[in-house]
């Protein structure tokens, strides 16, 4: 599970039927200081996160399990909006 920032949204009307009803967000992995630590990618949104928000995501099989139905071709899902990151 990793930290990310939402940098955009993606609309796809024609897609695998299990994915209907889920917003697609474009996220880039970041670290606690906001530095980008990976490539941007598209993730299913489970928490109604908006652009610019810091979120945390889960990848691979667990991303599909965050969706309902869970047998969907999803390998990244935004599963939480980060209110604060307390790194002393």
């Amino acid at each position: 599970m990793y930290l990310g920032r939402v940098i955009g949204t993606c609309v796809a009307t024609v897609k695998y039927e299990g994915m209907q009803g889920y917003r697609l967000l474009i996220v880039e992995p970041v670290d606690d200081e906001g530095r980008v630590t990976g490539d941007p990618h598209v993730a299913v949104d489970v928490t109604q996160a908006g652009p610019g928000e810091t979120v945390f995501l889960v990848g691979s099989r667990e991303a599909a399990l965050a969706c309902d139905p869970s047998f969907v071709p999803v390998d990244a899902a935004v599963v939480g909006i980060v209110d604060a990151l307390d790194v002393p």
Partner: protein
């Protein structure tokens, strides 16, 4: 499992229900020698680890669900141990 150091805590109120009532710790993955290898992981704490502790992180979904139960569907990384000492022989 991965060796990591706990850097801090992640506070999140709007999240998937599987993460409710679970502490999320932001960790820095370490090499066996104890140096950060650049990867950061958010893991669900299961052993009351604190900031600064060196911990063991299980980063695999099936194991996470065995520990946290079937409701923890999208949980992938769980802190399963607090490391006291690492001894390298080479």
């Amino acid at each position: 499992m991965k060796l990591a150091r706990v850097l801090g805590t992640v506070v999140s109120t709007i999240k998937h229900p599987a993460f409710d009532h679970r502490t999320l710790l932001y960790c820095d993955v370490l090499t066996p020698a104890g140096d950060p290898d650049g990867q950061r992981i958010i893991a669900v704490d299961h052993v009351q680890a604190g900031v600064g502790d060196t911990v063991l992180i299980l980063d695999e979904g099936n194991g996470a669900r065995q520990i946290l139960g079937p409701t923890a569907q999208p949980v992938r990384a769980v802190i399963v141990g607090i490391v006291d000492e690492v001894e390298l022989v080479r």
